[in-house]
């Protein structure tokens, strides 16, 4: 599984504080710790409280680039902030994210082509989040068609079927699993699938248990990537075991260690 570390996000107090005080230390430590824990890319989100998101994104990406060349997922809905982040992060970055309505696709897909980036598309459009898997699939199809029409290879599109907290809507985890399975037949090569996992457990009392159980279920359904808390060791262990059970890695008694060593290089 392609693991995108979620922790550099202004929603976290320590990150918001570091941004406010222009103190790169905590950000850089988080970047290194997440990569060490198995992240292959790092999500970068300035958070809701940043005074000037453009300035904050510029500062964040520069601070991270001082310690790593790992791919960054620039996490914003604002095109100007996205462009700035992509410029500074360099080729191979991830646009996180566009929604499914045409006017957004018209902005972000060409942006992905221009910056040699992958684009995450949420299955949300002008009507909001669909109620079921069919609605999610329709939006995903629209995204893939738009990508092909504009010349972006579908393998550089990641569909995020949008998980909601299980204590808010209990049928949604099932709809998302069905969507992940359906998306694989949309095109050849198919788009990738991704999930902002932690949302599934928002507001619950057993966040880590729900996160790792649902991650394993989504992997079994064919999920390619997830934005997760890679510092949650139990979560990563469950992911590695799931990869093994799906025959994506060769067993060895120290398979956890082997997976982590391979992911780091």
């Amino acid at each position: 599984m392609y693991a995108i570390g979620e922790r550099i996000n202004g929603m976290f107090k320590s990150v918001a504080g570091a941004i406010r005080e222009s103190n790169p230390g905590p950000i850089q430590e988080l970047a290194k710790a997440q990569l060490e824990a198995g992240a292959q890319a790092l999500d970068v989100n300035v958070g809701p409280s940043a005074e000037d998101p453009l300035v904050a994104m510029e500062w964040l990406v520069k601070a991270i680039r001082e310690v790593t060349d790992a791919p960054l997922a620039i996490d914003t809905t604002k095109p100007d902030v996205m462009t700035k982040g992509l410029e500074l992060a360099g080729p191979g970055s991830i646009i996180n994210s566009t929604k499914g309505q045409q006017e957004q696709l018209d902005i972000f897909i060409p942006m992905a082509i221009e910056h040699d980036a992958t684009v995450i598309a949420l299955t949300i459009d002008e009507n909001g989040i669909p109620r079921d898997a069919n609605g999610r699939g329709e939006i995903a199809l629209r995204v893939v068609a738009a990508a092909m029409e504009k010349g972006l290879d579908p393998s550089r599109v990641m569909i995020d079927a949008v998980i909601l907290p299980v204590n808010v809507t209990q049928p949604t985890p099932g709809h998302v699993l069905e969507t992940i399975r359906n998306i694989k037949v949309l095109s050849d090569p198919p788009p990738k699938t991704v999930l902002g996992l932690s949302n599934v457990s928002q507001g619950t009392t057993q966040r880590e248990l729900i996160n790792r159980t649902y991650l394993v279920m989504t992997l079994a359904a064919g999920l390619d990537a997830a934005i997760v808390d890679v510092l949650d060791k139990d979560l990563m262990d469950a992911m590695i075991a799931a990869e093994l059970l799906m025959d994506r890695a060769v067993y060895a008694d120290d398979f956890l260690k082997a997976y982590r060593a391979s992911a780091r290089t």
Partner: protein, 323 residues
């Protein structure tokens, strides 16, 4: 519509490993051998690179084997008592890229030679030839733990390939390897899971993954060859898919295993309907080697000069213009 070749895009490559050190590199070898670096399945030149020819290591034993096949007696009988001369013949007459010195004489059931005696044998072979050396113990763990550190020491700086670390016995040889600047053979009993585990164990000791060559205790044609082949293939696929713990080049012991087969060693007068004995043995060895070549083997430990010749022809034809 024009034919379009189906090409797989691989994420990774086999590690490149060099055996041997010239005077510039702190050794006394006159040549070195580099294997690996492949970015595709064996010899799919349209898909990726096969940057190096596989290497032939001809095997030299420190004791004359009992029940040696007549064909081997004929080829090496004149030098069989002298490992240095034997090695020299392999290099000068048959163009061996490397010598694989097998210290069978250390085995308590054989001559039970001391670490010092074994080290002297290693020295004599190093002095006799300029090609890189594989130095392999007798296969009995306790005894190998005595002889290999000393053998490693006398060859310090020569960048030899030492054999072999196993799941149950890897610490002594891995430590010697690191101390004296050698490469290491990680051995598994026809088991990809154990192979991966041995690689993890030795790398945990601090030996860099780029200093390991893998060896599945391969059998000859008719004796588990196809199972070995399937493990090799799966190993290469894992390497190309990015499994760092299975990305090392592979070695196969072809000569001794092939000539163990009754089809290879039964004399002509016992089985006249099987045809000329030497021909059978040579073809048995060459066929086994060819199979492992297709499986992705990089280093071949060979016995008979004619089998070596046949294998080299196959190298050349498969490498094509990349040779």
């Amino acid at each position: 519509m024009a034919f379009e070749m189906s090409v797989e895009k691989w994420a990774s490559a086999v590690n490149e490993v060099t055996i041997g050190a010239t005077s510039e590199e702190g050794g006394t070898r006159t040549s070195v051998v580099t294997v690996g670096g492949d970015t595709t399945l064996p010899f799919l030149h349209f898909e990726g690179k096969t940057p190096h020819l596989p290497a032939v290591a001809m095997e030299v034993l420190d004791v004359v084997p009992q029940n040696w096949p007549a064909a081997m007696q004929e080829a090496f009988g004149d030098v069989a008592e002298d490992p240095g001369a034997w090695a020299g013949k392999c290099v000068d007459e048959f163009g061996a890229d490397m010598i694989c010195l097998r210290l069978l004489g250390a085995h308590p059931d054989q001559a039970d030679r001391s670490p010092e005696e074994c080290a002297q044998t290693v020295k004599s072979v190093l002095e006799a030839v300029g090609v890189p050396l594989i130095v392999w113990g007798c296969g009995q763990s306790e005894k190998d733990n005595e002889i290999m550190p000393r053998c490693s020491e006398v060859a310090a700086g020569e960048n030899c390939l030492l054999g072999a670390a196993t799941e149950d016995n890897y610490k002594t040889i891995a430590a010697a390897c690191m101390a004296d600047g050698h490469k290491l053979i990680a051995e598994a009993p026809l088991d990809i899971n154990i192979q991966k585990q041995v690689n993890i164990l030795v790398s945990d000791m601090g030996l860099d993954l780029s200093r390991i060559v893998m060896f599945q205790s391969t059998g000859g044609l008719g004796y588990g060859m196809e199972y070995a082949y399937s493990i090799m293939e799966r190993t290469r696929l894992a390497a190309l898919s990015g499994d760092r713990m299975l990305s090392m080049p592979m070695l196969a012991v072809v000569g001794s295993e092939s000539w163990k087969a009754k089809e290879a060693r039964t004399p002509e007068d016992t089985a006249p309907e099987w045809g000329a004995a030497e021909e059978r043995g040579v073809v048995w060895e060459a066929t086994t080697a060819t199979c492992f070549l297709h499986g992705g083997t990089h280093i071949f430990v060979m016995w008979h000069p004619r089998a070596v010749g046949l294998l080299r022809k196959t190298f050349d034809s498969l490498m094509g213009e990349e040779a």
